[in-house]
Symmetry: C2
Subunit: 289 residues, 2 copies
């Protein structure tokens, strides 16, 4: 018989670094460690302050301005990708450029580039301030628009040929609804065509479903990830719909022993930019209570 | 100064035979009148029994079976178009083939052919028994489906690449809704793409808008067309929402002089299957009052 007061800790089935983030971090660390000129990370390698700091400690300085990068040094393109113009500028200025753009984002770049070549007007569903969307927009050409809500669909011109893609981390149902409004809008013109590409990455939804599933079997949920990480905040919200005792922490050091005084079944989930080691540290800490 | 009691007769801007029907009838009459072997109309040249009869009188026998067409004779392909297989069979069997397929339907054939070549699964929104849809389906290749309602969207497979077209005479809003359901369905698969083509012909809606516009400037409206013609009945209903004095007639002989005793501004509109000559006869008759 197990001890009554022992804390059970379970980690959500899909948790932490997604494929693209993991890949980018591994590539960047390897590059920063190689011999050669100074290394700059152009934009935050991923959206996690601790990881940005760790990469800086490994030798890759973070900057959001190409002008700040010394000529002849090396540059890393972040997981979210950049515009083709930025890529060209980096390649011209630097002795070497490492592109860690997520392959799923790179697929969108290719789709959008082809749409532009074939004279489609490109519509990007997403947040216009997000680096992924800014990068995609760079491939989309003149007349491209970003729509962040169904209400903004009215900004789409009723043209002959329209191609629609989504930021990878958006919700699929929401994207489908937005695409529907776009079709109605574009079809105001005769002989029109709309191409809709499912460019949503399932990592976000998989993390959400796994978190909800675990929350239903837990007394307390710890959600680990940047306070400014949209997908982490969303995990917190979803767990809160299931459970009262949900805590959003950026680091295990924020976890308090008293939270677990009467709540023995603990669940841990983490955003797509949360490194595995924070999940492991949190697990060990809670088990030690 | 014009005489006070003269009747003004105006015809709705869009009225009677649509572009494709008019073109097909003119081509067919000319062909039937030319010297050469016997002429067959493969399928009804347009969906109007009187007009089919008139074309038969002009020398083009109507048949729905290629087997019934004598070898070495001439054939007319109807405005609704046929499958490529039927076209090949007619060309092999006949000394000459006249293709009167509506150019808007022909555009759908080209779209669907290209979709097939590019490995898209084709979805046709329309009535599976309509000759236009049967013809389009012939270009669409294996795996193509016809969906006649939103409920039937579940028959679409969640595949990678799907292309959707509509029968030309369908309602645009209904098609847009059906396309939305199709997107949700197809997007169950990752990395999927849906292309939606607005292949709706605006003729029906244009006739309705033109009739309403004219009714607003008239004291009396004459709506010409079959009593069983859905689009003609709809024109009557729309005009009645504007005006009290609206008369639906199948032939000019039904028009009564007393209707115009105090109503001097007369408007005429007609369904898409109403020949021009009935509109002209009605105009002359009313002017003679």
């Amino acid at each position: 018989m197990r001890k009554k007061n022992k804390i059970e800790v379970r980690i959500a089935a899909d948790s932490g670094f997604c494929f693209g983030v993991k890949r980018a971090m591994e590539m960047a660390y390897k590059y920063a460690g190689e011999k050669g000129p100074d290394v700059y990370s152009y934009h935050e390698i991923i959206h996690n302050p601790q990881e940005v700091k760790r990469l800086e400690n490994a030798g890759a300085k973070h900057t959001d301005r190409i002008a700040k990068i010394k000529k002849g040094s090396r540059a890393i393109i972040s997981a979210h990708g950049v515009t083709p113009e930025e890529e060209d500028m980096l390649k011209e200025k630097c002795a070497g450029v490492l592109d860690t753009t997520c392959p799923y984002v790179k697929r969108i770049h290719r789709i959008v580039k082809k749409l532009k070549e074939e004279k489609y007007r490109v519509v990007i569903a997403g947040d216009r301030d997000h680096p992924e969307v800014k990068g995609i927009l760079g491939y989309a050409g003149a007349g491209a628009v970003v729509v962040s809500s169904e209400a903004e669909v009215k900004t789409i011109k009723a043209g002959e040929k329209t191609g629609i893609v989504s930021q990878t981390t958006k919700n699929k149902d929401g994207f489908a609804r937005l695409a529907c409004r776009a079709i109605e809008r574009v079809f105001e013109a005769p002989n029109s065509e709309v191409r809709v590409f499912n460019t949503i990455c399932d990592a976000t939804r998989n993390r959400q479903e796994a978190a909800v599933k675990l929350a239903k079997k837990s007394d307390i949920m710890i959600v680990i990830g940047g306070k400014n990480s949209a997908n982490t905040v969303r995990l917190y919200e979803l767990c809160r719909e299931i459970l009262k005792f949900v805590y959003h922490v950026e680091s295990p050091s924020e976890i308090k022993k008293e939270w677990f005084r009467v709540r023995r079944r603990a669940g841990i989930c983490a955003g797509a930019s949360t490194p595995q080691r924070l999940i492991e540290e949190a697990t060990e800490l809670i088990k030690s209570f």
